[in-house]
């Protein structure tokens, strides 16, 4: 008789994402495994399998003797319903065993709107949500990823967080667990020991206290000797670090369906709104020779015909020219197409774009983020109108007729003049096309998209207020009224989602009950339009007596104790404050190549300089 899951699979969309068995998947003999890790990605298979961090840590854990790390993803709504109806608990792909049977449950979290997926996945696995309800070493829950840099909204659910790059710390954590399980430690004993590993934060060792006005008054350690500051971990030498050159090749199409090679970490730019830009510092690169070697291994092991060079800003990779000289002949011989995202509009990149023919493929893309030079200076986005128009002119005269422009609305100090500046910039792009296009018959398409600014922890804008969704929509309408050309296609992010993202990004422990309540009311897959339900969230806030505006429109005082203050990502609070004031003065800060601006992240490096 056909088993239950095999009967469900024909009834759901994209069943291949639930069965595992892909090429390069890791299978182990259960008899040799001492510690089973269920590595959960709080979103769908297609998103999770496109995540580099997950692939790295999957490889790191499975390289260890006696450890078997298996993957778990959030089911789509149709599968979730079938699971509930059939009493089928959430399972891991490799062994198809229920997650509840695993020793450790790990999450990597990169997006605030997936917090409900974390809780919902625990629920679907039949594991109690709150750490206090889980006794003993079994089903210990830990989490990492960028969102762990403000872990407080999840503090009641996650037993401990692993901050920063996990290549080394994950090995230390699992080795300790291996020992603890073997020696039969209590959960408390293990947590006390794991807190001694650098970069590990155990939220239950601290109590948060609040002032009458609701702001945080104190973070009180509850045990002797627990650290008051937890510093994220980094890999010192990326050339020597593990890189997944033999990695799973999904049997079904995923979001980034190609081989991916990370060329460097950190960002030299310092855009003041960007959390990744600051929290991934210091700047460390891989050598072109190592990258070339890894590229060949990656492609041969996967059989891919496309290679993506990834980082926060690949044009800033110091060895780009040298790497290209190595890669071009290889790619030509093996018919591999190279893609280099996030290229800047400088000369070298322009030449490279032409060579890669990325223009033809994806069109021109710019992210000026703000419409006027004044506001671009405020946010330290080093991209001038001239650069944009020159690049456009070159491309238009070469026959291209498609431009995408990305902006944010609601940035600090933004006025209606800045909003209208977007329309003006777009107008100039259209004028440039009229003046330079070699082929006007096909017409021009300008896609303009605006996102709603979300202030993030560990950025110079971490104290800023977010404007209300109503005010954002007013600016959207204002902008829309000023697009006169038929060539313009304007789309904007829904404000509701970005408002919630802002609440969760700078949230504290009082959001735990709200998350729990939202999940109880059915929230999950919030990043997906099909499932996001704003009213449900507002009901959850009301039911818990929490005011979302406290975390958004209020803004945080510069002297206020911030929930994420104990978390040290390398960049100092003094530097962030300095940058905030420079923003107000409209002063730009040069990028690291033109001189170190003293963010503090270099102090994490041993023996090498930052961005060397």
């Amino acid at each position: 008789m056909t088993q239950q899951l095999q009967r469900i699979l024909p009834t759901v969309q994209k069943p291949a994402r639930y069965v595992g068995g892909e090429y390069n998947e890791i299978q182990k003999d259960p008899a040799t495994v001492r510690v089973n890790v269920a590595f959960c990605f709080p979103d769908t298979y297609e998103i999770g399998m496109s995540n580099l961090g997950m692939r790295i840590l999957y490889g790191v854990m499975n390289q260890m003797d006696g450890i078997w790390c298996q993957r778990v993803f959030a089911p789509w709504g149709d599968m979730e319903q079938a699971m509930v109806e059939n009493g089928l608990p959430l399972w891991a792909l490799e062994s198809q065993r229920p997650v509840k049977e695993f020793d450790l449950i790990a999450f990597t979290i990169g997006y605030e709107m997936s917090y409900t997926n974390v809780l919902n996945m625990l629920r679907l696995a039949g594991i109690p949500l709150r750490s206090a309800q889980r006794e003993g070493l079994h089903n210990l829950v830990f989490a990492g990823g960028v969102c762990a840099f403000n872990p407080e909204p999840l503090a009641e659910f996650v037993d401990f967080f692993s901050l920063g790059e996990g290549e080394e710390s994950t090995v230390e954590i699992l080795s300790l667990y291996d020992k603890a399980k073997c020696q039969g430690w209590s959960k408390e004993h293990f947590l006390r020991e794991v807190a001694k590993i650098g970069g590990v934060y155990v939220p239950s060792f601290y109590r948060h206290e609040y002032h009458k006005d609701g702001s945080l008054s104190a973070i009180v350690p509850l045990e002797d000797g627990v650290p008051t500051k937890i510093t994220k971990r980094i890999v010192q030498d990326l050339d020597k670090a593990y890189y997944p050159v033999k990695t799973i090749v999904p049997s079904t199409e995923i979001v980034h369906d190609r081989s991916n090679l990370e060329v460097f970490r950190g960002c030299i730019r310092g855009c003041r709104f960007c959390q990744a830009g600051f929290s991934c510092r210091p700047v460390r690169k891989k050598s072109p020779q190592v990258l070339y070697q890894q590229a060949a291994e990656l492609l041969e092991n996967a059989g891919d015909n496309e290679l993506n060079l990834s980082s926060l800003s690949t044009s800033d990779y110091r060895g780009l020219q040298e790497l290209m000289e190595l890669l071009f002949p290889y790619c030509a011989e093996h018919k591999i197409s190279l893609s280099v995202p996030s290229l800047r509009a400088d000369n070298f990149s322009r030449a490279l774009m032409q060579k890669l023919q990325t223009l033809r493929k994806s069109g021109l893309t710019f992210a000026p983020e703000a419409g006027t030079q004044r506001l671009r200076d405020v946010i330290n986005k080093n991209l001038t109108e001239e650069e944009i128009l020159t690049t456009c002119a070159n491309a238009f005269s070469g026959g291209w007729n498609n431009v995408k422009l990305y902006f944010m609305l609601g940035l600090p100090s933004e006025t209606d003049e800045d909003v209208l500046g977007i329309a003006q910039l777009v107008y100039r792009v259209i004028q440039t096309w009229k003046a330079t296009a070699s082929n006007k018959k096909r017409g021009l398409r300008v896609h303009v998209a605006t996102a709603f600014f979300v202030p993030k922890p560990h950025t110079p804008f971490q104290w800023e207020a977010q404007i209300t969704p109503e005010e954002y929509m007013r600016r959207v309408r204002l902008l829309k009224e000023h697009f006169y050309s038929k060539s313009v296609e304007y789309s904007y992010h829904a404000p509701d989602l970005s408002q919630l993202e802002a609440v969760l990004a700078r949230g504290d422990r009082r959001l735990g009950p709200v998350l729990e309540e939202a999940v109880r009311r059915g929230a999950r897959l919030d990043g997906w339009d099909e499932y996001f339900d704003y009213n449900l969230w507002m009901e959850a806030f009301a039911a818990c007596g929490v005011d979302p505006h406290f975390y958004t429109t209020r803004g945080f005082g510069e002297e206020e104790l911030l929930p994420w203050d104990p978390i040290d990502v390398g960049v100092t609070k003094d530097f962030l404050r300095r940058e905030r004031h420079r923003a107000y003065d409209g002063q730009i800060t040069q990028d690291c190549r033109h001189g170190c601006s003293g963010c503090g992240a270099n102090t994490m490096l041993k023996g090498v300089g930052c961005d060397a």
Binding site: L9, E22, K335
Partner: protein
């Protein structure tokens, strides 16, 4: 053009037609067997699969045509290397030169299994057999312009109904493979529609063999 005879079983059945093409393109590459590429701006390795298989359907008789770019490789060698580079559930049974023209492929032998968890009901076999012996049998078929009623009997060339175990009734059918093709799962749909009291708890399907118009095995 050389041809691959392969099977799709186990969890391989959940791989869609398009994903299967991608899987093979990568498998050839991993096996060190570079494929000829299409012409055009973005050349793609060319493989073509004879009859797209629906997700969830097993098969032991799938055909894929390909052309290698580079020095010739022995057929047995290609088979061995591909099987190393494929995933569980997709297995190459044979690689051979110059198969027959695909347009001569006319019929498909398949088994539709109807599972009854509480045992096959008494009289079920007879009732199902009688159902397919009528003058016509209208079944709803999903089309581009919404569902359409379609008489499936002209495309059903033969049918044997056998009880294979206490809980399974197997419809062993030979159906039209192309122009037009009959999706064998419509046989199960007919049972569900006209014999609701004999609705199975689960139905699944397996392609068994390919034939030409004369009923000879097609390769």
């Amino acid at each position: 053009m050389p041809r691959v005879l392969f099977s799709k079983t186990g969890n391989g059945v959940w791989i869609s037609h398009l994903d299967l093409m991608r899987l093979f393109q990568r498998a050839f590459q991993r096996a060190g067997l570079p494929l000829k590429h299409s012409q055009g701006f973005r050349p793609r390795p060319v493989v073509s699969i004879a009859l797209p298989l629906s997700v969830g359907v097993q098969s032991v008789c799938e055909l894929l045509d390909f052309e290698l770019d580079g020095p010739p490789v022995a057929m047995e060698e290609i088979q061995a290397r591909l099987n190393q580079a494929l995933v569980a559930g997709v297995t190459v049974q044979k690689v051979y030169e110059a198969g027959r023209k695909l347009k001569e492929l006319a019929l498909l032998g398949c088994t539709v299994a109807l599972e009854y968890d509480a045992g096959v009901p008494a009289g079920c076999r007879e009732a199902v057999e009688a159902l397919f012996h009528q003058a016509r049998l209208l079944v709803e078929k999903k089309g581009k312009n919404g569902p359409q009623e379609q008489d499936i009997l002209p495309m059903l060339h033969s049918l044997d109904v056998v009880q294979t175990d206490g809980c399974t009734l197997a419809l062993k059918a030979v159906v039209s493979a192309q122009n037009p093709a009959l999706n064998p799962m419509l046989l199960a749909a007919a049972v569900e529609r006209y014999l609701p009291q004999l609705r199975p708890d689960f139905a699944h399907c397996r392609r068994e063999e390919l034939f030409d118009a004369q009923g000879q095995q097609f390769r």
